[in-house]
Amino acid sequence: MAIQVRIPTPLRKLTGGAESVAASGATIAAIVQDLESRHPGLKERICDDNGKVRRFVNVYVNGDDIRFLDNLQTAVKEGDEISIVPAIAGGAR
């Protein structure tokens, strides 16, 4: 079951520059694990040492924030679109 995951520009060095990559899994947690196996290093950019989504990263399923769904246990299915949105801080300098 392939699901497309949109990768933000700061993380694309881990996906060979790909804007969108395929991943398999029935939950966000499984998707993140699959992403890690295909693109090593991605998981630690999304999750902290305790396995929770980092507080400056948000994950969306079809535009809905997983924090308001079931977090990493949010179910996903083929055709869903997952987006990773990191906080970015630049601006003045």
Binding site: G63, D65, I88, A89
Partner: protein, 247 residues
């Protein structure tokens, strides 16, 4: 999404609102130069420019109000001088100081809007909290490398920055603009859009970027909206008195 005001005013009233408005622009660098020029061009009556830094050579490719001759000069003074040449009717108030927890309320009180053109998470969370405390709309933006983000916060009415991101990352976890670099034209693009948000809000025209985050991927040339919602447990805005949508 929130309409800027219940009824759109006529053009004379819109111009008057811009002329009577005071905007606090925090950060007069990459975003701030673009936003300041656009706001002054639109006829904003008073622009308070806040930044404690001086112009450096590495700034010049993206901070369009500063010149080589300005190196070492306070950014607010450099910007105010350029803006005054073109926009003598706009009252410019350059304040060479960094906005901090201590001085934020004094720096921002009285403004009709705050433009967050700062660099660094601490400043962005600080401005979010100050805007909520003071009940002043905040036009937030962030940029790094090829990615831009933009949202408008109406205190107590729309999702705030802490509804989106609960707390800043630890130092070093996410690179700043200074560390990672940024595409100069991306900074200008996002800064101009912040000004457009201010103008829409002040004139009661159109629909604001509330409860949605606009992202611009300058590598793919792709714009996207991410739906946001207020976090009912948000420690910053859950108990804030709702801002009246229009002026």
């Amino acid at each position: 999404m929130i309409a800027a005001a219940p009824q759109e005013p006529g053009s004379a009233a819109r111009v008057r609102r811009l002329r009577q408005a005071s905007v606090a622009l925090v950060g007069v660098g990459a975003l701030g130069c673009a936003a300041a020029e656009a706001l002054a061009t639109a006829g904003i009556g008073r622009l308070v420019l806040l930044d404690g830094e001086v112009v450096e050579l590495s700034n010049l490719h993206r901070q369009l109000l500063h010149r080589t001759a300005d190196l070492g000069r306070a950014k607010v003074e450099s910007a105010a001088a350029k803006l005054a040449e073109r926009h003598p009717a706009t009252t410019l108030e350059p304040r060479c100081e960094r906005v901090t927890e201590t001085n934020a309320d004094a720096c921002l009180r009285g403004a009709d809007c705050i433009v967050d053109a700062t660099d660094g998470f601490a400043a962005k969370f600080l401005l979010n909290d100050a805007a909520l405390r003071l009940g002043i709309p905040l036009m937030h933006a962030g940029i790094v490398r090829f990615l831009g983000q933009l949202m408008t916060i109406l205190p107590g009415r729309s999702a705030c920055y802490r509804c989106l991101f609960d707390a800043p990352p630890l130092a070093g976890d996410v690179p700043s603009c200074q560390e990672a670099g940024v595409l100069g034209s991306l900074a200008g693009t996002i800064g101009l859009l912040q000004a457009a948000e201010v103008i829409r809000y002040l004139t009661g025209t159109g629909v604001l970027l509330t409860d949605r985050l606009l992202t611009y991927d300058a590598l793919a040339g792709r714009w996207r909206h991410v739906r946001l919602r207020r976090n009912p447990a948000c420690r910053a805005c859950a108990h804030v008195t709702p801002h009246p949508a229009g002026l």
